[in-house]
Symmetry: D2
């Protein structure tokens, strides 16, 4: 198929290349010169202009958005809008909030454009291994661009699914990331515990590798942990500072909204917030209270 890939960041450029390798004609679009220059070596066509790229696509057009979630998606959609026509399909493959995707689908529907929300997992490894795709939207539109999904996914019939109506794809991706937080935290706690058991002087990479085959906890995240620990056993030079990118927060909010207790996913998010705290006010108040009632010494910095 012919497709425009809007956004040539880490994810977009890799996906464009995978589609290009898979035999599709891809026009990558990015306003940034550096992003375009870097993409130019990957084989697919590159353009600085949405108008220009869309003019080159046969109608009905297929456009994939791979831009940061939030306002940028709305801005990109606004820039796209004058160039779209009846029957075009726009796929948002980023980490958009599922309710935004539902709103956007409704918005372009007036112009007879189909909007597909596609949760995309796989990170920098997707180029080689393929991406896991969770797809929401109308069946006819999803079927029309099926060839794209089959190429991006790890296999023709593997690693992708049309999970439901508009919003359902990004919803599943949101939950996916919530689960990811919980799994990562579980591993992190376990390895930290082994690291603190100094009496056994454990080689954490060795343990991780022993678990990679046959164990109940084997997983891709374990594979990555084994690699990281192998290269840097004490994780030297890495700050204990963990970012979060939004999906965890949405998962927590959604769970509470649906009255579903999700304590482990929730706590995994809070631990990330905690990792970024400096001079915690709550800890200082606890120390102050202990001093008030028990005369317990306060540590000054």
């Amino acid at each position: 198929m012919d497709i425009a890939m809007i956004g040539l960041g880490k994810m977009g450029a890799n996906m464009a290349e995978r589609l290009h390798r898979g035999g599709h004609r891809v026009i990558g679009v990015d306003p940034g010169e550096a992003a375009r220059d870097s993409a130019a070596t990957r084989g697919f066509e590159v353009s600085a202009s949405i108008a220009d790229a869309l003019a080159q696509l046969p109608v009905p057009r297929v456009v994939w958005l791979m831009v940061p979630a939030g306002e940028v998606v709305d801005q990109t959609l606004a820039a796209l809008s004058p160039h779209l026509s009846e029957g075009d399909v726009v796929i948002d493959g980023g980490n958009s909030y599922y309710k935004d995707s539902m709103r956007r689908a409704e918005q372009v529907k007036g112009e007879d454009v189909s909007y597909i929300d596609c949760g995309t997992s796989g990170g920098v490894w997707g180029l080689q291994e393929g991406y896991s795709l969770m797809i929401g939207g109308e069946t006819a539109a999803v079927e029309r661009v099926g060839a794209i999904f089959r190429t991006l996914a790890p296999g023709e019939d593997r690693g992708w699914a049309h999970v439901g109506p508009s919003g359902a794809g990004h919803f599943c991706k949101m939950v996916h990331n919530g689960i990811e937080y919980g799994m990562m935290q579980a591993y992190a706690e376990g390895f930290a515990l082994m690291q603190h058991k100094t009496a056994f002087n454990l080689d954490l990479a060795q343990v991780a590798k022993a678990w990679q085959h046959g164990s109940v906890v084997r997983s891709w995240l374990l594979d990555l942990s084994a690699d990281a620990l192998d290269r840097n056993p004490q994780l030297d030079g890495i700050a204990p500072y963990v970012e979060d990118s939004g999906e965890g927060r949405w998962t927590v909010a959604e769970a509470i909204d649906l009255d579903v207790p999700a304590p482990v996913i929730t706590l995994s998010l809070l631990e990330r917030l905690r990792s970024r705290e400096k001079n915690s006010f709550s800890d200082r108040l606890l120390a102050a209270m202990r001093n008030e009632f028990g005369g317990h010494a306060i540590k000054t910095r």
Copy 2:
């Protein structure tokens, strides 16, 4: 009554003074000269020697232990033992583990000595306000030293109770402290949230004081927080470092042992551990994993 108070630390000296003020004859015992010198100004008798102190008490004797939990209690009991005789009553008013108290009661029973475990709450304020006492042991022994409890407690019939057999007193004190952890953490989180709401520029001491009267969250811990925030609104110079003294750990272990989920008390303990962590290995592993799968930048220190 006549009583020996073994251990003239912050708690023991105050309790000895409250008993002395209440009309009891108190002989305070401490091997430390500084502790004895400081106690000497408080009105009650002071001795460096357990043997000497016990020799001065009428039989049957009443001995109160106010020493650090753990080995020191066993050592003190061993030192006491040769000087005890049938009918004596030994009261452990410290923060001993309740199973240790049960073992010790069994141990001295062979010598016809009664052992009472008395959980004591109130901190440095107990001297003036009285102590809340949770008492475990045989009824006859508890009744024999009732005058002591009535003087230490905030009132004749208030703030003390014979809650059960040997061990029950320290068990209740253990749970008391577990609850204390949870309450403290709840306040700490709430005040931290208000402190971070910079748009409202809240005066935390003012809010705390408004809550002291009529609100659902009024409590003594709130009173102490109000005082601390009044004197030092930003808690300047206090390190975000929170000690724990053992009872929280025992509470968590006991709850799991009895299959009782106590998530908030448990998490309050873990937050204290977290406050003391430097360069968390688990957070570093999380950052490393994010880098592995998503190429997300790692923060170096």
Copy 3:
């Protein structure tokens, strides 16, 4: 002062009565006949009509809203609006979301009406003991109705505070309720642990009462627990089903929004959700997984 109290539910009727007892002229307004009939015995005037009530008040008027949070507040404000004039003061004493209160204050400002958000704590006990009041809004308006606050509060200068601009009052009330959740959960876990320690056969009401005086965990919530346990030691006939009324959810969302980890408050909310779950899907999936990997027996209902 003269004041209209809109909403004569449990809280509104009590507050109207306290104001009436305090020497103010109160016109209670409620569309419900039963609520009006019940209120009629309390001494203050009662009306079915907002228009009628406001017509009887001297200008500038003082109106207190004590209606359920959410749409009802907006509806009531819309009903009030035609009858308000420059200089009137409207006070929302309910559990409104603080951002709604900020919006409403902005809304009536155009009509030169002052809007005060007043977080009110104290429950059914406020009639006798007074209410803890956290007040947000412009200083001039707050001062104008100071006599009202002083009467509702537990004392002239106690239990109330003008904590900040519009929204700040309901914000503090929201955090107050978050803290309340955490404290309640801490007590609940502790008492449950003692209840499960059958070997000691503890009398929970007795323990609670011993803690009411002198202990670190004394509080009003403990007083209430002591009463409840005294009347019904095994809490017979009470379902393990815990409602939540919104403020806890807002507190959790706000904490995450401000990057403030509040694990204990958060978990206290999730425990309430958990208490209401029937046939938990997550627990069933856990059981299914254990069966898959270990052949562990699954319990059927």
Copy 4:
């Protein structure tokens, strides 16, 4: 090699068969007739008597224990002891507490017998796929029985490791299971959230399968979840009741002992306790408190 497998339960019988298939001579020992009868069809030799089995093995002997953790291990070791001689190797492949294993290793050392603690993961799938083995003990002994480990493991050099001295193997298995609890809980919460999002009518097995390839959360536990959800999409007939087998408790205790905060692993255990609670006392007390302060209705059963 020649080896006695003591304990022909689900795990032991499978491991004996895998060793037998791998070319080793295996004598399976179990006091239970049913276990022996069932094992007899699997190809390896079977005996009811430890003495008999050990008499048939060439010296130095190799004995694998696959019996329930705790007292049974000590009893089995006591039964073995008279038949062991210098140079024999005993391997405990069960889920023993690592400190017990250290004690037992010390105990048999006096008789010049080597004791190896081998954490074994893989469940009922290990027969076909091989077991992940975490091995603690002295290097010479581990090397002597290396052929056994290589056959049980998924591959010659994969899925097994000599991780450290005596105790280290069971320590790593303990942590492994703690991580397992956390991962399982993360998946369970995520799938429960999707199940409650009725508007999207998600097919959970379909989502799980889409995640199996290319996604960040792919894992063996996910594979098992996909199977379970495929066969029984609503998990009908499964009670929301989750057992725990000890390692989670030990992990939580160890983490607290080492001052390592492990909130997610800890909470995952507590959620299992919660799943088994009937008529939660803490929830009832919370409901009672709400009634006390707010007059909120109590739900009766």
